[in-house]
Symmetry: none
Subunit: 224 residues, 2 copies
DNA sequence: GCTAAAACTGAAGAGATCCTGACGAAAAGA
DNA sequence: TCTTTTCGTCAGGATCTCTTCAGTTTTAGC
C-alpha cells in the first residue's frame, strides 16, 4: 500500500513517515502543493494525507483537482482544529475522512486502513474485535450488536487500546491520550484506574469477554 | 534498557526521568559534561540523551569523544531550536537523532525506542530465536507463538541476554543493567539468581529449550 | 574425594502497584 | 438556572513483584 503525505511541518512529517513505514506502508512525502501535484500526476497512491493549511497554496484547490481527476486514491484531510469547517466535517468536498491536529499516529493509522479498506472492499469505518465493534465515525461501541453506553473518556480509552491491540500500552501513553494534553506529565494515574474499572464493568455487563488485560508494572493490553 | 540523560534544567530533567522510568527504562542523569564523562567511562548505556547547550563545556566535544570511543550507545541530541545546525540535522556529527526543545515526552520516547532498535536490533521490531520470539513493540515474549507472561525484570533480563546472544555477560553487567543506581559494584547477586530462576522456569514451562547457560565464575550466556 | 567458592532453590517479608467504592467538583444537558 | 451526567481524587484494601535470606546443590581446583 502506497501513501503520499502532504505536510510541511518537518517534525510531524518525520513522525508520520517513521510510524507508517513501521506499519509497512510505502510512503512518500511532499512539503508543498506544487511538489504534491507533480507526484500525484506521476504516480498513484492508495491514500493521500492532505494538510490543507500549508503556506503557499490552497489545499482545497488541490482537493478539487484530485476529485475531478477521479483518481482512486482515498483522501484524508489533516488540519489544525480550528480550520476544520463544517464542509470538511460533512466531507462534502470529497475527502474520505478528516483528522484534526494534534492527532495520535495510531488513530491516523486506523483511519488510513479504514479508508483503504472502504475503497478496495467497500467496507465501512468500523473496527471489529469478535463481539466488540467500534464505529469510528459514529463514535459508538457495539457489543453483540447492541450499543453500549460509554462516556467519552471510556470510548477514547477503549479505542486507544483497540488501536494498539496486542500491544502493551503504558499508562503514560494512556494518560496523554485521555487528557489530550501532550505536554503534561502525570504523577498519578488514579483517573486511569477509575475509567478502566468502569469501562471493564460496562463491557462485561454487555456480555463481552475481558479482552483488556492489566500487565503489572507495564500498562494494559487489549488482547484479541 | 538503560539511558543516560545529560541535561541541566532541573525541571525538564525531572520530567524526563519520571516519564522514561514510567516507560520502564533504567535512567541515570548528569547535569554537567564532566559528570557525564565520568558516568560514560564507568558504565554503559543503551541510549544517551545529550543536551548540547549546557553551560560550562561544549557538548559537541563530548559527542566527538563518544563516537571515537566506539561505544554502542545510541545518541540523541537535544537542544534549543535555534542551536540545531545543519550539521546536526544531517547527523554528520555522529548522533543517531536529534530533537529540538520543546518536545513532547512521547516523541522523545518514540525516538529512543527507534534508536535502540536501530542500534541493537538493526531496525527490527521482533527478535526470533528458534521458538522464542521477542516483540519489542508489544513488549511481549512468545514461545511457540504463545505469550508467556513475564514480570518487568524478567522481560528486561531476557532482553539483555538476547541482546548479547552467544556472549557471556557478567553478573555485574546484568546487575548494572537491571537496577538503576550504578554507583558501586554489587556485593550480592541473589536477586539475579532469583530472577534467572523464575525466567528459566517460565520459559521451560512454556516449552522452550534451555538456551540460557550458566557459566561458572563468569556469568550467563544466551546460546542460540 | 575433599574443600571452598559459586550457584541454585523455596519461602517470606517488604515494597510497589493496582483495584474498588465513595464523594465532591466540573461539565453537559434540560 | 437547575438537574443530570461525567470526571478526577482519595483512602483503604487486595494483589503482585522484588529482594533478601537460609539452606542446599553444583563446580573447579587441589
Amino acid at each position: 500500500m502506497k501513501i503520499l503525505i502532504i505536510e510541511d511541518e518537518q517534525e510531524l512529517l518525520n513522525s508520520m513517515l517513521t510510524y507508517l513505514r513501521g506499519e509497512n506502508y510505502v510512503c512518500e512525502s511532499a512539503a508543498s502543493y506544487e511538489a504534491a501535484r507533480q507526484k500525484i500526476e506521476s504516480f498513484s497512491y492508495d491514500c493521500i494525507l492532505l494538510d490543507i493549511t500549508l503556506p503557499g497554496g490552497n489545499g482545497l484547490v488541490l482537493l478539487e483537482e484530485l476529485k475531478t481527476d477521479n483518481k482512486t486514491s482515498g483522501i484524508i484531510i489533516i488540519s489544525a482544529k480550528d480550520s476544520i469547517t463544517d464542509k470538511i466535517k460533512g466531507l462534502d468536498l470529497g475527502a474520505d475522512d478528516y483528522l484534526s491536529k494534534p492527532f495520535h499516529l495510531s488513530e491516523l493509522n486506523a483511519r488510513i486502513s479504514a479508508v483503504i479498506r472502504r475503497r478496495h472492499f467497500s467496507g465501512s469505518t468500523v473496527l471489529t474485535f469478535h463481539e466488540i465493534v467500534v464505529d469510528l465515525i459514529a463514535k459508538t461501541i457495539l457489543v453483540h450488536k447492541k450499543p453500549v453506553d460509554l462516556t467519552r473518556k471510556e470510548y477514547d480509552l477503549l479505542l486507544y487500546l483497540a488501536l494498539n491491540k496486542n500491544r502493551v500500552v503504558s499508562k503514560n501513553a494512556i494518560a496523554e491520550h485521555l487528557s489530550g494534553d501532550s505536554v503534561a506529565l502525570f504523577d498519578n494515574f488514579d483517573f486511569i484506574y477509575t475509567h478502566m474499572k468502569n469501562l471493564k464493568r460496562k463491557l462485561h455487563q454487555a456480555g463481552s469477554r475481558d479482552y483488556i488485560k492489566s500487565i503489572y508494572g507495564m500498562g494494559y493490553k487489549f488482547e484479541v
